[in-house]
Symmetry: C2
């Protein structure tokens, strides 16, 4: 116990801004570390100090603020007072401070801020003396409001409604039009609402620190961390900083600036500001701010300084920065800097441009692109040819187009969106309370706020389309509609928004596929130069295959032949095959399918000229093809001249208790060899046909669901080899092809050394492998996996991200055993994990040679493969 | 090529009996090796030589008999001729030989024999001269018959019908009553039937050798090997031996003898013989032979010699021997010896007695008992109190009682028996062609043949009840009935046979459970002294638990609590629980189950006083308990005052696509924690109640279906710990208990190191583990696993014998990881593999501490555990 006390006594909980640097994010939070960094490189930062995340964790653990934290703050405050020649709580010329949270990872809008702390009825008089009466009361009401919200948890609406009472009484529309007397009245009302605001500034400060620390665990913060997969045990720091005022007159102002355009990535300083306003006036979106370009005209020197600061910060951080500034009486202060959130498009352009500018390496550039961003790059646009009814235009706050039903209530949007409905959330503005609705909607439309308003920032972060500040719109929440021009749009009406242009369109507009920017294409090329893992596509048709080639596929890693069975005109034949009584009858039916499958394969070979095509033999259980509806059963009965009852019985007989673990894959191929014989015949004949037309064919036959080496031996010996001999001798020619297997059953992974002796390639079917390794039926996990994710039993859905500890162990084992036993073995991964960056990286580390995914996700896989290689180089260097 | 030829030239394909010994079974076959051994220890064995199994494989490979084999045979023949002073093919005094197959493993009746080879129309004259005319023609017709059957594949029935023609003409009933002239006529007819029998004895011999070699691959032989799990690539040897004749007069005879009683194990020479007969007359069961005791009276010297030979052979082989002998003109020849087949009861007694007699060690005795034998020991008897209608009595040829429908046709018996019907096969006699019918029937009844007839031998080998030689029975195959006394028993009538007494009973007799012999109990005690693997029982009720204790269980390794839910009066409550709308409603219903479950556990604790009870929390998916029949749905609807439709919808909602991989086990416990809470509460309260009554309680709570360590953490933290705290504080007492988990999901095995940190014990649920590792649904494998077994893709059904290469690897991995991470971890195996000897042995080698199986199989597990230890000692010594 005494040891523990000793440690506590010795710990340093408070750091001046000049004591830290940008590497100390974990301890000082991102904001604190960056304030320290900016201070150290000589930028004009209002002085202050940071109470560490350790102090937060200590507070959360103990439930109270250890005494030494207050002691250390008092010491630092003395330094601050000396620096500014003001005293905290001085009734003549009080030092006012801001108290802000700041975790290691930026969590915009999640935590809480209190400005102008140090004001009370007494120090107010000093502030009045130093400035003017209106300013003093305006500052006081801001403090009371924030203290009330953050510390006393009084809803924002209550303050707003008191403010509105006064504005109404005074007959004015905007806060700025209220005079000193009116502001005094606002303060009176606020003090009444908040109740016991401590008079002692130190008590204010301690309460504020406690409240900020406590807010680490508020619902919004937790939700944000959950959505963003952040750990809950980091804690937040608190930054205490001398106030500077952007609202002391026309030579004052506040703004936010990005060092590059966060929507497009263009290398231009970008941002917004308000003259004579405090920072939160800009961010909150209450007044519509001016574009940063206007600053050039209004305050040319400040603009030039700001440009200079932006350059310095980019050099310092090698990243696009998002900074807050305040101009106090003609002097520029930087209040905060952080890596700027950006659209995926901007992320790509910035990474690319910075590499071109030699600020970072190509590898750095590639490492900065996430799979999620690439996915978002694939945002759709509105077909420019389409005849659409544009009803208004707002700010193009987050690119991409989306259609959906209009919903005004956030909870409703969240609920319906999570269920899979396409929802467009329409709000006057959004707040952190709306996060869940934003996350679940397809897009957001707001009638107020600028490019840096909450809705815009969050939507960009999520890569979701957002049109902000569409001011022509009037929203009538209670009536459940909005009006614009002579249109009235009711709840549940269909709306399309285009966050790339800002257009708002009535009804569902036809959307177009995205095109990749030149920068992205160059990044992909860099990735291709770096990576040594192959990227193939899962494609079943020539159309898919063409798409795959466009996206950069180096072959087809999985061609599912069953999809060829599902086409309506073929399904009839397949139905007959299923109902067939014996091998001979089935053979007869299969003869009719051969020409069709041969044509499929022939077309694929032509499209993929020179590239390998891995063709998986039939995998699903027969009953998946069986006619289940009475109508098609009747038709089949008629066609085959059988009774409906007979058909029903046959279909019923195919039903299984656990079809996932039933008669499918090679089990089907072994028991009904005529099916695989037909497929192998079609593949080989198509390959010969294509080769005869000069196509460079690389057929690969993949046997699914192997669990025992003898299954593969049997399929090879009893099916593939005899068919090969027959086709080659009949056609009088030979072609080369390979035979391999899926590794999708745990036993196959465990006995991969034996199986590798019979296989020329493996392909991990991680969907099935995950099902069997976890004992999870994908069709049934809905009843418990959501609870598991919520309770933290599972970190990720294992069907989305490869489970490295369990399923991944089998992948590693099979790769190692397979390659040891057959050094020439080629190993791939197909299935949905093949296009998920973490899974691709894991596979690469495990020794997998290529990944295969849907054409759409190939760019993700290409980048991820390059990242895997870069990480690997870093690890081994 | 020249090398290969060289090797062939150098190989020795033929061995004289004095060149080999009993260790050379693989090369000489069992029969050949034993003939050599007997020759070497000086027993009177007709001289001869053996053509090796290698020669057979060479023949099967090449399709022809390599020349050097004939050369070597001719050399050996010369030695034989010299020894006997006769010449092969000598028209004056021909050397006659027998040609017999003999594989490494005894395959009774499977391969083929030709006697009296060397006879032709010319040598016949010499034989006539040396013996008499009738004997010569009798010998000739036997040769013609066997040569025709074996070499020319002419059906036996054709010979029989020709024989019958002659008997009819002569007006006699038995073969022995035919005079020389009649036999000559038989020979004439046979020659006509067989056609081209080579005149040259060497041609006869070479054809015979080829036929025997070829018969290795005949259908019967293959079937036998499949049934007995024997490899197909061993080949058979051929034994060529000088003929001795048991049919040369009243001072001649043939017989078979066991050195101990093969039915009971009693240490008495046991067997049958016929005066003036050849060996196959005894074995074929055509004449009903005399008991060996009669030999004492008829040929006292021979009997005394035979007794002496039996002693010598037992000493030599340390095993009970089954020998064939022939008495030729007062001289005893031993034609063959082999380890005698025996009933399981006899196997146990003989192993036990031999250990007691110091012929073998206790370890040897234990190693000789197989799980299958023990299973068969558990044969039922007919309740002696029962009022049954005995219709006749036959020989008690193979013990145990069985009831079933009478079937006369072997194929029909096979087909219906395999489908699961209880069949009693009724035949005049059986032949090797009837094997499949015997295997599928519950028991066999024959009207002819003795204790060593085909039916009797095979039934004993299979451990199946057999009543043989029930001569009062007349079978009318064509009418599909048999008559005995004034009873007519039709096909499909129910019959009970008692192979222990020989009784045949009309209708289904009430059967009694078996009792263990004192010898078996002593063997079990020896096993307990040797083994260090624990043996527990899978038992759900006090009744099961008592049975388990009787069989020697050291605890309960698996108590399935769901079985407690299935009792009719409880199922109603369970139905209500399933239909409950929310946790509160469910809790309410569960409160009503608690007293019932508590009582269950309390009773179990009392029965198992001092022994651990591993209680598994609820495992199956809820829908297994749901009322599926409309009747019970209606009842439930009435009870709950809900519409039938509501009930149906709720029941429907519980259905899953793959319930095996669905919402069950701990997944259920985590999502509906109130169920596990109820169970834990019931267990702990029952334990406290029992402890308060002075019972020594050892509760173990087992969480099923863990796949991720966090699942176990969650169940412990959110369910077990709070309930424990509540119960202990309410009851004001504490008891100690352990918490562990099933390892039944591949992922659990793979991450066993993590899970072991949270578990005090593991228990392998190898049923589920096999399902998921193979991707086999036990309910659905019927559509392909039988084909897999037939095609040899699988050697064993993995649900019967633990798959050591796949599932076994996970067992090894989990054991190793688990014990490394938690050295105090106790590891068991439960499920059906827990009572299968090979699986028990595998588990022991893997490091598993105890096995748990159904009470009935506990003796098997005790023996297997001892065998595992003995094998382990052998390996490490």
């Amino acid at each position: 116990m005494s040891n523990a006390t000793l440690t506590v006594n010795m710990a340093k909980y408070v750091y001046s801004f000049d004591e830290g640097n940008k590497e100390m994010k974990e301890l000082l939070g991102g904001k604190g570390a960056n304030l320290a960094q900016m201070t150290s490189i000589g930028l004009e930062v209002p002085p202050g100090f940071t109470v560490t995340t350790e102090a937060c964790l200590k507070y959360l653990e103990k439930g109270e603020l250890p005494g030494e934290i207050e002691e250390q703050m008092r010491e630092k405050m003395k330094v601050l007072e000396k620096k500014l020649d003001k005293k905290f709580g001085d009734p003549d010329d009080p030092l006012l401070i801001s108290v802000r949270s700041g975790a290691a990872v930026s969590m915009p809008g999640m935590m809480d801020t209190i400005l102008n702390l140090g004001l009370n009825d007494e120090t107010l008089q000093g502030l009045k003396k130093q400035t003017d009466e209106r300013f003093a009361y305006d500052s006081y009401r801001r403090f009371l409001n924030m203290f009330g919200e953050v510390v006393r948890e009084i809803p924002h609406a209550k303050f707003e409604s008191l403010m509105n009472e006064v504005k109404e009484k005074e007959g004015v529309n905007k806060d700025v039009d209220l005079d000193a007397k009116a502001m005094k009245e606002v303060c009176r009302k606020y003090k009444e609402l908040v109740g016991d605001v401590p008079h002692d500034p130190w008590k204010q400060l301690l309460e504020a620190v406690r409240a900020v620390f406590g807010s680490w665990n508020n619902k919004r913060a937790k939700k944000y961390r959950e959505i963003n997969n952040l750990p809950h045990d980091m804690g937040t720091a608190v930054n205490v900083q001398a106030m500077v005022f952007g609202n002391m007159g026309e030579d004052c102002g506040s703004g936010v600036a990005f060092t590059r355009n966060p929507a497009t990535g263009e290398k231009d300083i970008y941002g917004e500001f308000l003259i004579n306003a405090q920072g939160e006036d800009v961010v909150a979106g209450i007044r519509t701010p001016l574009h940063i370009d206007d600053l050039k005209e209004k305050m040319p020197e400040i603009y030039s300084q700001l440009n200079y600061v932006c350059k310095i910060l980019e050099k310092e951080y090698n990243e696009m920065q998002d900074l807050e500034f305040t101009i106090e009486k003609g002097k520029l202060y930087i209040l905060q800097t952080r890596d700027g959130k950006r659209t995926p498009m901007a992320a790509v352009k910035i990474a690319h441009d910075m590499a071109k500018e030699d600020l970072i390496t190509k590898e750095n550039a590639i490492m900065r692109i996430t799979g999620e961003q690439i996915e978002k790059l694939l945002h759709k646009g509105i077909d420019p040819e389409a005849d659409v009814e544009k009803i208004t235009k707002g700010l193009n706050a987050s690119p991409g187009a989306a259609s959906g039903k209009v919903v005004f209530d956030t909870d409703e949007a969240a609920e319906r969106g999570e269920k899979g409905e396409s929802i467009i959330l329409v709000r006057p503005e959004t707040t952190p309370e709306d996060i869940h609705g934003l996350a679940a909607a397809k897009g957001v439309l707001t009638s107020r706020g600028g490019m840096t308003s909450h809705a815009a920032v969050v939507a960009r972060g999520m890569g979701q389309p957002c049109v902000a500040g569409a001011e022509e719109i009037s929203i009538y929440m209670e009536k459940g509609c909005f009006k614009v021009g002579n249109h009235t749009v009711m709840k549940d009406d269909i709306l399309t928004i285009d966050g790339t242009t800002g257009n708002v369109i009535l009804g569902e507009a036809p959307l177009t596929e995205p095109e990749f920017s030149l920068e992205f294409q160059e990044l992909l090329m860099w990735s291709d130069e770096i990576r040594d893992m192959g990227v193939r596509a899962n494609a079943d048709t020539p159309k898919d295959a063409k798409k795959a080639l466009e996206f950069g596929a180096e072959g087809i890693g999985l061609c599912r032949t069953e999809h060829m069975f599902f086409e309506p005109e073929r399904l009839e034949v397949v139905h007959e095959m299923i109902i067939a009584d014996d091998e001979y009858e089935r053979k007869d039916v299969l003869e009719r399918i051969i020409p069709l499958q041969r044509q499929d394969f022939f077309d694929l070979f032509k499209v993929m000229d020179g590239k390998p095509i891995v063709i998986r033999l039939l995998d699903p259980p027969l009953h998946e093809f069986a006619p289940t509806e009475e109508e098609s059963q009747k038709k089949l009965a008629q066609r085959l001249d059988l009774s409906l009852d007979t058909i029903k019985k046959k279909v019923n007989k195919l039903k299984e208790a656990n079809p996932m673990l039933g008669h499918r894959g090679c089990r089907l191929g072994i028991v009904y060899p005529e099916i695989y014989r037909m497929q192998v015949k079609a593949i080989l004949e198509a390959a010969i046909d294509a080769a005869e037309e000069g196509v460079d064919i690389k057929p690969r036959i993949m046997v699914p669901l192997i669990g025992h080496v003898k299954e593969l031996q049997t399929v090879k010996k009893k099916i593939i080899e005899p068919v090969k001999d027959e086709v080659f001798s009949r056609r009088g020619t030979e072609i080369s092809f390979k035979v391999g297997t899926m590794i999708e059953i745990p036993r196959a992974a465990i006995t991969a050394d034996e199986i590798a002796k019979e296989a020329e390639f493996f392909s991990f079917g991680t969907n099935d492998l995950t099902q069997m390794t976890f004992g999870f039926s994908r069709d049934d996990v809905g009843s418990f996996v959501p609870s598991y994710l919520e309770m933290g039993i599972l970190k990720d859905d294992p069907f989305h991200t490869l489970d490295s500890k369990g399923v991944g162990k089998l992948v590693e084992m099979a790769t190692q055993k397979g390659k040891t036993s057959n050094p020439g073995l080629s190993i791939g991964i197909c299935g949905e994990h093949g296009g998920e960056p973490n899974s691709v990286k894991f596979s690469y580390r495990a020794g997998v040679d290529y990944t295969s995914c849907s054409p759409f996700r190939i760019p993700i896989a290409r980048i991820a493969a390059a990242q895997a290689k870069i990480e690997d180089n870093q690890d081994s260097s």
